[in-house]
């Protein structure tokens, strides 16, 4: 039988998302431990998340520096001893921080897990913050930040988020390289004392996890209460958005300009989150999006244009971001506006709706690739106070999205008069 290439093969999509089972354990001291046993390789990922993001710092860079300096010497080990041991056991450690949370992740072969946890315990509970190491850190990080702030994308992103939340709000503030000069060991020590404790954390472990590894975690982190939480809720700061709707930040030696457009929305618990996630995908959330088709694939103004829904614990925002040649700025802005108006005026077709639906479903399935990514996914839902049932809920809601809902949301949230535009480049 001759193959008919003109007809697409049949396809089907799952009605449920196949998430791995999670076992939640409460350790003796009350510290929650979630275990995701998945994969064949003899490896583990251990993440401990603290409610210790930058929102809690009283001075710029204190939260991130406390986190990044944890492995730079402890009461028992010198910084060289720590890095020697981690390197020798083929383990690695990552430090991540955002506005709300900080996270320390260890990757380890199963056979070295106990040794790695012994070091992890020292790093997390007993850091020493030696002055010499802090000086090196400050010096190098400062230079790193100076380089980062040469990029128009960075300049535009910072100016944009500051315009939305206000320069002093914990979601809108950005450090200056000179802020590194103001750090000292005692600031870091105090921050660590205040926020790095058993009752301000949760642990997610994924990979090949047996009773033996759970016992190890429990021995190092789950026995007595450790740390001494004196946490006070960070004050609810008032959002002070910039009254200017268009902001230019000149960078005259730049070949391209970075554009950011958007507004404040809400966090992931909002009723319209899923709908806006969908609308955002239609507009600029994937490679086949309207913005990408129009501005890259039809006009060739840019290498890429995307939109995003970014969520923090208490708020969130919508943003469109791109980099275009300086001379294309006005044309790109015009097309972006046209695409938003089109969402407000015309119902999206059934075809596009089902295409985006299927794309999002595929994207959710894609995030279940391996023990590392699954852990990220779980930490994410754990931070909004749920478990994988949240992913299942979003999955079901995606299946039920209608063109009318899209039209309503585009009008409710994307009125172009309410959007803030930031352009950084040659003016």
């Amino acid at each position: 039988m001759k193959l008919n290439r003109t007809i697409a093969p049949e396809f089907k999509l799952p009605h449920k998302i196949p998430l791995p089972a999670v076992t939640d354990i409460c350790l003796q001291n009350g510290l929650p431990l979630s275990v995701i046993n998945t994969g064949d390789a003899d490896v583990l990922r251990f993440s401990i998340v603290f409610d210790a993001g930058t929102r809690y710092q009283s001075q710029f860079l204190v939260a991130s520096s406390t986190l990044n300096m944890l492995a730079e010497g402890t009461k028992k080990y010198t910084p060289t001893e720590i890095s020697e041991q981690l390197d020798f056991y083929g383990a690695s450690v990552d430090f991540d921080i955002d506005r709300d949370w900080s996270c320390i992740t260890f990757y380890s072969l199963t056979r070295h897990f106990e040794k790695v946890m012994e070091i992890a315990e020292q790093i997390i509970k007993y850091p020493a913050f030696p002055e010499k190491e802090l000086d090196i850190y400050k010096q190098n990080q400062k230079q790193q930040l100076i380089i980062e702030r040469e990029k128009v994308a960075t300049i535009a992103r910072e100016a944009f988020v500051s315009a939305l939340f206000g320069k002093t709000h914990h979601y809108g503030a950005f450090a200056h390289p000179d802020d590194y000069d103001k750090l000292n060991c005692s600031l870091l020590n105090k921050f660590h004392e205040k926020y790095y404790s058993a009752d301000n954390a949760f642990i997610v472990v994924s990979g090949k996890v047996s009773e033996k590894e759970i016992k190890i975690i429990s021995d190092f982190f789950g026995g007595n209460v450790w740390g001494n939480t004196q946490k006070t809720e960070s004050e609810q700061q008032k959002i002070v958005s910039s009254p200017e709707k268009t902001i230019h930040v000149p960078k005259n030696d730049s070949v391209q300009s970075a554009i950011r457009i958007g507004k404040i929305l809400f966090n992931k618990n909002h009723d319209d989150y899923c709908g806006m996630l969908f609308l955002n995908t239609v507009l600029g959330g994937y490679f086949g999006s309207r913005l990408m088709k129009n501005i890259r694939e039809e006009k060739g103004y840019t290498y890429g244009i995307y939109s995003n829904i970014v969520c923090m614990r208490d708020s969130g925002y919508f943003t469109i971001s791109t980099e275009v040649a300086n001379e294309y700025v006005e044309l790109a802005l015009k097309e972006i506006k046209n695409e938003i108006l089109r969402l407000q005026q015309q119902k999206i077709t059934k075809d596009e709706l089902s295409l985006v639906k299927n794309y999002i479903i595929g994207d959710m399935l894609r995030s279940i690739d391996g023990a590392w990514k699954i852990a990220d996914m779980y930490i994410d839902v754990r931070q909004i106070g749920t478990g994988f049932e949240y992913i299942e809920k979003i999955f079901d809601e995606i299946l039920k999205i209608t063109p009318n809902r899209m039209l309503d949301l585009a009008n409710k949230y994307l009125d172009t008069n309410t959007l803030t535009t930031v352009i950084s480049g040659r003016c």
Partner: protein, 414 residues
Amino acid sequence: MIEYKKFTLKNGLTLLTHRDSSSPMAIVNVLYKVGARDENPEKTGFAHLFEHLMFSGSKNVKSFDGELQIVGGENNAFTCNDYTNYYITLPKENIETALWIESDRMLYPNITQQNIDIQRSVVIEEFNQRYLNQPYGDVWLLLRPLAYKVHPYMWATIGKNIEHIKNATLDDVKCFFDLYYSPSNAVISIVADIEHEKIYELVEKWFGEIPDRPNIRHEIPKEPQQTESRALTVERNVPLTCLYKAYKMCNRENSDYYVCDLLTDILSSGKSSRLYQNLVKDTNLFAGANAFISGDIDEGLLIVSARLLPNTDIEKAEAAIDNEIEKMRTTKVSEYELKKVKNKIESSQIYSETSIMNKAMILCYYEMLGNIELMNTELDYYRAITADDILRVSKDVFVKEKCSTLYYKSAVSK
């Protein structure tokens, strides 16, 4: 350890399958054995531009993206100096959609003058965004032609000169396709929770009828041995002065390749490494230092790079780096240090095999090298390396006359 099955179709297409039950997704990865090193020196950047054009649709599939998105899939690609790699991820039930698309693209791509005009413009913006408008974005554009005088590694995948991209014609595109996009010049790997034989059947169904074309590969000119030290100084509007020392090393087939890899790990893998401990922490001259190999198939580069703190004397900094390099040439590494970098190689290999996407790419890559078994036996080569090997190869590689140095000076901090 990746278990796999290898099949060869009558038209010369190689298929590699690996079963993984941990994911609901399938990966379909197609590698074409063509990269920037195969380009005409007057038409550089072409392999990469062509990769962009390969997303323009084919005779029976108008929009690859559209057809994939509707079945929950996504695709992308990248071009490097040695090869071009296309990949699709989609729910495993829909794997035939990926095979339909990839086979139609191999049969009848549909590239028009209009596609060329648009993608040319996109690539120029990519050039601006990634190479010109980033601090240090043009380092490789400077370092390559300094280190290579004959071999096509002298240009980056984006091209030697953006004019080359501007001049690309429809004829060039057709000719490139005929030369390089034939079944026997491709390798396909599929990782999914599907039986090997079933995958083979489906691949045979979609790709079996594609006629092979002869592969006329032109000889890639061999870079003559470098016999003089080279240097280039540029000044840029960047915050910190950087230094790049690029030494010539062996090709991918040579077992010394692994020795080079390990010796750069000794220098800079992890915070316990020599460059971090001895240069960044102890001298107060550097904001960062790194050593790595370029990983090319033909004779590649071993690079030692450093970022200097403001107001650092560049000669003093270079002397400190040279001192570390000299130690590698004259003193044997300890057994402990050797064991440490070997452990790290082993664990990073195991880590990389936790992702189905990585596994699919690993399969195609090693098959392209001409020895798929290597992906599972390579670790033995690393394990066998001795302190004497490190010393011998250090002596051989770290020679002034084989080095090209780029002084990338900050116009701000002098």
